[in-house]
């Protein structure tokens, strides 16, 4: 597959009459965007706002973050979800680099997160560096929880496509090519390079805990191989808010850091033979089945080494170590990426399950670390929502608007696809 990503840098965002990007300034047709989203009769109201890097602005509760793009001469959107199905991974996509759609609004569950655009909080989220276009969705009354979640999910994706139209006729600042052929072709080119696969675990556990490949619910499938270009070309979306710190937002699927770093090594130090989704299920049988399947796939495609990233913590730690054990016992070397729940003081056991075979592990941070955030000048969303987030607690929002939360509550803080730069040191 060959994917060309044309980047248009976004340095600022303003409201205007039409979608365009010029000189790094993205103009958003706010009324047009509102009308577009209100076409869904299950949405009662939409409010659009901007939050820029450095502003003393807090966004809460955040459900998803999506990158606005324009897919040239192809289905423009998320194939199988907001457009007809179409294979992703080949062709040209124009990307408003530095802009992000952030969906917020009272939701059915307890797992949304916080994004601070300045100060201490900004250091812990990658989305303090993007020009954020916040989309606050109020659904009509009486929706059941599953429908409510779907409505907000789709609205966020549609918003990203609407804003992505600004890129349509603009000229790229930077072009990046992502090209990997079949395993046969690539192995013929690089016969001596070790074959490396990327096993991407995904939370697939029900309401607000799901992910989708071309619109297919990952909890309904057995582990499958897929081409990395598909994930970075809009084939994968997030339907989950497992915990803000390590949920893979749609933006992070579109820009999966492990895919990028493996691509950078392809043809040089490794032969990157592709990705495998390993859904994390809620039954023991399901876990055994998926872990066996994943290890079998890796072995069959000839992997010498595998990077395994987790999504979530707690019961998925089980899948992580099971996959590692199965791979190592087949002579396949692994490196794992996971975050840890080491408690407020960092002295608790980091994982819920263990395996001696897991000798190479990158820690993407301690989700329980408590941070103190100053009051914002402006809050987009509802500040009090922080008290019911995973990582928040009753009383964690002070009278003056300052906030004490665990990293758990900060979007992308401990990303287990290695998107951010947190780690843990033993003292």
């Amino acid at each position: 597959m060959r994917l060309e990503q044309e980047l248009l840098y976004v340095k600022d965002v303003v409201a205007g009459d039409a979608m365009k990007i010029e000189g790094g300034v993205l103009t958003v047709d706010v009324d047009g965007l509102r009308q577009c989203l209100l076409e869904d009769d299950k949405i009662k109201d939409v409010q659009i706002d901007f939050a820029k890097p450095g502003e003393r602005v807090r966004i809460v509760p955040v459900k998803d973050v999506i990158e606005p793009r324009y897919r040239v001469d192809r289905q423009n959107g998320f194939p199988g979800v907001t457009t007809k199905y179409e294979e992703c991974g080949n062709g040209v996509t124009k990307i408003l680099k530095g802009a992000a759609i952030v969906t917020i609004g009272d939701m059915v569950g307890f797992q949304e997160g916080v994004i601070d655009m300045w100060g201490e909080g900004a250091g812990w989220t990658p989305f303090s560096k993007t020009c954020n276009i916040t989309v606050n969705i109020t659904p009509v009354d009486g929706l059941d929880p599953h429908t409510h979640e779907r409505v907000v999910r789709l609205a966020g994706l549609k918003a990203s496509t609407f804003v992505g139209l600004a890129a349509k006729d603009a000229e790229a600042d930077e072009v990046n090519i992502y090209e990997i052929g079949s395993m046969k072709e690539e192995t013929a080119k690089y016969p001596d390079l070790p074959k490396v696969a990327y096993v991407e675990m995904t939370i697939s556990q029900g309401l607000l805990h799901d992910g989708f490949l071309y619109g297919v619910d990952l909890k309904e499938i057995v582990p499958t191989w897929f081409h990395p270009n598909e994930e970075i070309d809009n084939a994968v979306i997030s339907g989950n808010c497992v915990a803000a710190c390590d949920k893979i937002t749609t933006y992070q699927h579109q820009n999966n850091a492990l895919i990028h770093d493996l691509y950078a090594q392809h043809g040089k130090t490794i032969n990157y033979i592709g990705n495998i989704f390993s859904p994390e299920l809620t039954t023991l049988d399901g876990k055994f089945r998926n872990c066996d399947y994943t290890a079998k796939l890796c072995e069959q495609i000839g992997a010498d080494g595998v990077i395994v990233s987790e999504e979530g913590y707690g019961n998925p730690d089980s899948d992580l170590v099971m996959i590692c054990k199965r791979l190592e016992n087949r002579g396949i070397k692994t490196a794992l990426v996971t975050d840890e729940c080491s408690g407020w003081d960092g002295t608790s056991q980091p994982l819920t399950d263990t395996a001696a075979e897991a000798v190479a592990v990158v820690s993407s941070g301690n989700v329980s670390k408590v941070i103190e955030l100053e009051p914002a000048d402006r809050v987009i969303g509802t500040l009090k929502a922080a008290q019911t987030l995973a990582g928040g607690w009753d009383g964690c929002v002070a009278e003056d608007g300052s906030l004490k939360v665990e990293l758990n509550a900060v979007i992308g803080a401990t990303s287990e696809i290695g998107f951010h730069n947190a780690s843990v040191k033993l003292y």
Binding site: F110, W124, A257, Q265, A360, N408
Partner: protein, 345 residues
Amino acid sequence: MAKRVIFYLNQFFGGIGGEDKADFAPEFRAGEAVGPAVGIAGGAGDIEVVGTIICGDNFYGQNEDEAREFIAQTIKEQNPDILVAGPAFNAGRYGFACAGACQVANENGVIPVSGMYVENPGLEHCRAFSWVAATSDAAAKMRKALPLMANLVKKLAAGEEVTPEGDSYHAQGRRECILVEERGSTRAVKMLLARLNDEEFETELPMPTFDEVEPAPAIKDLSKATIALVTTGGVVPNGNPDRLQSASAQQWNKYDISQLDELKGEYYTVHGGFDPVYCNEKADRVVPLDMLRRLEKEGKIGKVHEIFYTTTGTGTAVANSEKFGIEIGKEIADAGVDGVLLTST
């Protein structure tokens, strides 16, 4: 201003005598660095030696309260910033006494430093809050131990960062979350490449090992037994009156269920780690009160305990979980409960 350092030694290293003087009552030598303290102070840079406490190992072992009171009193009078105990190498009684000295120091806001061999039984009593240099097992290696301890004193006095590998102390077990230069994905790819090329690498997360627990004896007569329900499924009365957290629980709660035949309609879940819809339809799917009541009515169990205990088991630190388990367990045991059904999600 130079940091004030106080030393703690046993009767042998304090120059009092050998085993025959192990019951030596504690004394404070003001202004003096005695025995090994000289070597430590000498290598610790700009510090002020406040003095040395000398106490017999047996005195400490047999009069712990009195010995600790002496140390505490001396600390109050002398106002040190750092207390240095030992090195104790592998000596058990000495290690235990040093650990006690470190505890007293810690309780009084004084930085504790020591030196022990990894198997010294005193180590586990103080390593979590002290900087204990990793020494060998024999006092014959004193010359190697002193610079390690001196280095720790010097750096801690200067407020400099110390690490277990770089500064040779037994890791306290504190995992500090920090921001680093490279993002996680880059570090992971580098780590895998190192493994594939048989190069050295260092894991960022050593795998934990878990405990074994002694099984409780079986209930002799189930038909007379009181059974309690406990859950980590975050099941609480409607409205979550005690504001149990959705993750990373800081509390457990208890509720009177003596008047209920089922939780359905009255209870729901605040647990943020699983799809709550099915539990919210009928919380008995997570906490099976209805079935336990049936067994009670049928005489298969004696009684359902009136109080039900709940907390949230996602992102909840193991340390908190242990604490909750001990506290709930004590209450349940005191109430004469015979068995517990613990459900988790």
